[in-house]
Symmetry: C2
Subunit: 234 residues, 2 copies
């Protein structure tokens, strides 16, 4: 972790970490030397997922599994990778387990699939985006960052570098920078400052578009932002 030498080695809790997106992010970060806690409703399921990641990432990897609220208490970087239909209830349930000063990185996409519709259509969220809904539900002192919506879970779980940029939106610039550093640890990923948290509504919706492209063209679509100066990518 040479690029973040000033940062203490804090674990990352991947809440909802037994799903494909959570497993993929955990795998990539375990490979990069991060300490990972997989969170799940079921502690045994979390431990089984952690062992599976450990097997793929090798002996040096530091991966454990816990029930979600224990995972939450044990970390101050919380990566949320749950379907939209479970996001609000889970955040309410975890509220008392979050430490002030923590960062919640939200990758939730409000897809119509949450209410029996198509995964290629976004739902409108009153607050503007799933990330803004999360910001309303976390305790005071917890910063919300929106990121990682547009990465293919399928490709995250493979070995090859990705071909996708991660647009990071937050109202807390330190939390956003830390998230961009975490994104850049995934081979092939470039992190881009996407501005305030309110912009998450566009980034979330892009995922619905990508899902539609995947269905139509049989692929694992991602996006790259072109035309920005090199300093924009970090």
């Amino acid at each position: 972790m040479s690029s973040t030498a000033a940062r203490p080695i804090r674990p990352i809790a991947v809440i909802g970490g037994t799903g494909p997106a959570g497993m993929g992010l955990a795998l990539r970060w375990a490979h990069a030397g991060e300490t990972i806690i997989i969170g799940s409703r079921d502690a045994q399921r979390a431990q089984a997922a952690a062992e599976a990641i450990q097997r793929k990432a090798g002996n040096q990897a530091r991966v454990s599994g816990m029930e979600n609220s224990a995972a939450c208490s044990a970390a101050d970087i919380l990566m949320l990778t749950v379907p939209f239909e479970g996001q609000a209830a889970l955040l309410k349930q975890l509220k008392n387990s979050m430490t002030p000063g923590s960062i919640l990185i939200d990758a939730t996409v409000p897809l119509a699939a949450a209410v029996g519709g198509r995964a290629s259509r976004p739902l409108g969220v009153w607050q503007g985006s799933a990330a803004q809904q999360a910001a309303e539900l976390v305790p005071h002192g917890v910063s919300v960052v929106a990121a990682f919506h547009n990465l293919s879970a399928e490709l995250l779980n493979r070995e090859e570098p990705l071909d996708c940029d991660v647009i990071v939106c937050s109202d807390d610039s330190d939390a956003a920078q830390l998230t961009r550093e975490l994104a850049a640890k995934i081979p092939g990923v470039r992190a881009i400052d996407g501005g305030r948290l309110e912009n998450a509504r566009i980034v979330e919706n892009i995922t619905a578009l990508l899902i539609g492209l995947n269905i139509r063209h049989k692929g694992h679509a991602g996006i790259r932002i072109t035309g920005l100066p090199p300093a924009a990518y970090r």
Copy 2:
């Protein structure tokens, strides 16, 4: 136009063609051998713009300028490049000048700048998108295609190839295919079938995100879609 040999050489009317996006598209298509009619509220302004494009594109280029409704009547491919605040009124005014069987390609982006807000924030459109609003306003028999929202007008007006994909959305698959062929005539552009017209709401909003990135990072942002099989790009 070897790739579209079956297509008669029909002019493309660029409505609102004296703005930077219209001028840029007209220039690129004139270079590619298309016959272009620049439309403007003011016929003289249209002619001056046409002459400017002709000078840049060279003697072989076929570019003329007309008042918008005359341009509309003289073409059956209509490229609409106007600010959102002018779109609905202009379409109502041009309704009687459109020939059934025509294609209206809409690149309108509903930015909050239209009502004095920021260009980095989209407006909500009752119909779902500016393109769906257009579809409500054109006469029966005119097909609407949404495309070209994400191309930088600045870069279109230069000589270099672009580094951006064009996502094409329409409920008329023939019109969408013709539009993808037109997009692919712009050097560096790949055209992608983005599905039904309703998906334009996401593609339009991406422009607001790109404008925000341009402001934040001082660039001319575009997007590339990665991870699709080669056949998806055409």
